[in-house]
Subunit: 343 residues, 2 copies
DNA sequence: CTGTTAGCGCATTCAT
DNA sequence: ATGAATGCGCTAACAG
């Protein structure tokens, strides 16, 4: 059942060498220090015994765990799994293991998780959490832990970050509906204490301005969370204003779904009465009625890029922090159409 | 920047005790062995220095990593994140950390991941992977690693498992449409080399039989994967047969979505011409047109239960393997209705 | 109740 | 090219 695990010493004994030699032979980095044939003997002995190096012991000795903490708000949000996959795949290539946790964007949870991760001697952190107020991460960063932020950044640029160009994304959305002929364009904004919510709101103002369109304050409504019900509430507020908007850019897909609900409640239809654009291009969003036009973000690439940045820092501690901006794109579907002209 | 980390020895020195005493004072389990006031002194010293126990060193000494490997086919499949959350939350309460990996149901990937996890000295494994053929897990089980299977089980019952009662789930679906008056009921089955696909197919045959309904072989079509396109293909095959089915039970929601496509391609509508039932009750499936009737699986509970079973084994090695069957339920929405009676 | 001693498995000096 | 010695940080067994 549970045989005593095979250790380096066992391998060394079978190969009739000193454990130190076995260690050198087994480690690709140091194999050249060992004579070819003895190295071979060690390898064979290891294979025969089914030797599996004890990563824990190695970490204790080398002070590198080859593990990375990954902080995610909530894996149930379909936005994150692809990012996590990207991180996992890239880290895996480099021999690193991710420790994935959900923080629910809760400062306490986040702090506890960071604490246990540091106790587990993670070599670095990748954080996709989005609080702008309280921030346990900043402490870890200050303590010298290599960190890469995802979808957000620190004001002072002291920490590496990979973000999507939210402003450009919103600009794509606004330009699209403007190009269809819409002039009264509303915005169902996300919560402003979340970085994406805030940036997309700013992006909306900018984009409208750049196109020479006026932003009616009544055409902008803020939601308290990225949920359908919040989206519906905010959208209803926008729809109440006259003359009514003919297009709404939502700060994300779930808010956009809420917009669908609000339209339905008003007896309006999309895109005939109001065009809707979402953000994120969630899985299955193309199966809504109507299929949602949405800004696509390169989620997997976000993950691989973040891992890449972190690996660079882990490999070379002198690597300076870098901020990368990834490009979104627009996926046009059936929720947007030219505005109806009064008969 | 990177101060030398605070060790137990530092704490002991400040508290003017031996490191072993400090260790005892810091560990809740052994604190009672230390006099109240000295324990207090140690705690204060630890707090003052910001001591953080080195989990790696502890693991090496105690031979317990307090970590658990979690093998998931693919986090992008919305079925799994809730399960993972359940696992994470329950394990976390007990002081365990999950190591989550995606296997893509690929035997090689799975084997590699298991290998690195064992090298990292995980105390046990939770596996939600579903291959019925090749199986790297069995080896680990044989080697004495505590394992809990999710959504599948070994034939011999030698390993703990928590599964959903697929047969009952399908039975709920079949009974529902039968209760609406349907008699010609089809099944878009999943791949038969995946446990859920196979069990749901058997469940369909059983349920039909139990209701005294005949299974026309032409009303059953097997898909090669749980995807929309496969579902559409399989569904088209079923629809081709005359007299046409009036209801279809799909082996999961994505296949059901494919059924929607196939119906649309035939100019048929749901539920007027054909009722459709899915399985899993995926997020946002209620927002399809029509909202899909589906068998709901208690995903989070699957996770917590699996964690519970594993913790029991970790706490007491003599704990025998147990197989738990969780109950699904039916969520009725608008994709099912009584069959149309010919005018 | 506390100090002493020892060693978990490994990688890295330093000798030879 | 290999062996010997040492210690990463911690906890368990044994004294006292």
């Amino acid at each position: 059942m549970a045989d005593p695990p095979v250790t380096l010493k066992d391998v060394a004994a079978l190969a009739r060498v000193h454990p130190a030699t076995a260690s050198r032979a087994l480690n690709p980095e140091t194999r050249l220090l060992v004579r070819e044939d003895t190295a071979q003997r060690v390898l064979e002995a290891a294979a025969e015994l089914g030797y599996r190096p004890n990563t824990v012991a190695r970490s204790l000795r080398t002070r590198r765990s080859h593990s990375v903490g990954v902080l995610i708000p909530d894996l149930n949000n379909p936005l994150f799994p692809p990012i996590v996959r990207g991180i996992e795949d890239r880290l895996g290539e480099a021999g690193y293991t991710p420790l994935i946790v959900n923080t629910d964007n809760d400062a306490d949870r986040e702090r506890r998780h960071i604490e246990t991760m540091l106790a587990r001697q993670v070599d670095g952190l990748i954080a996709a959490t989005a609080r702008l107020d309280v921030d346990p991460l900043a402490e870890a960063a200050a303590a010298g832990t290599p960190i890469v932020l995802v979808n957000r950044s620190f004001e002072d640029g002291s920490v590496s970050a990979v973000t999507v160009d939210d402003r450009q994304g919103i600009s794509l959305a606004v330009s699209h509906v403007a190009g269809l002929g819409h002039r009264r364009i509303g915005h169902v904004a996300g919560p402003q204490n979340v970085s994406t919510g805030h940036r997309r709101y700013l992006g909306f103002l900018e984009a409208m301005d750049a196109l020479g369109l006026d932003v009616e304050l009544e055409y902008v409504s803020f939601s308290a969370a990225f949920t359908e019900t919040e989206g519906a509430t905010a959208c209803a507020a926008v729809l109440a204003h006259r003359p009514r908007v003919t297009a709404i850019v939502a700060a994300n897909d779930r808010l956009a779904m809420g917009c669908y609900d609000a339209l339905a409640a008003e007896g309006l239809s999309c895109p005939e009465d109001v065009s809707i654009v979402g953000f994120n291009d969630m899985p299955f969003i193309d199966r809504l009625r109507p299929p949602l036009t949405s800004v696509r973000v390169p989620q997997r690439e976000i993950g691989t890029t973040a891992a890449e940045l972190l690996l660079a820092q882990l490999t070379d501690a002198s690597e300076p922090p870098r901020e990368l901006l990834l490009e979104p794109s627009l996926v046009v579907r059936a929720s947007t159409a030219p505005p109806a002209t009064p008969p």
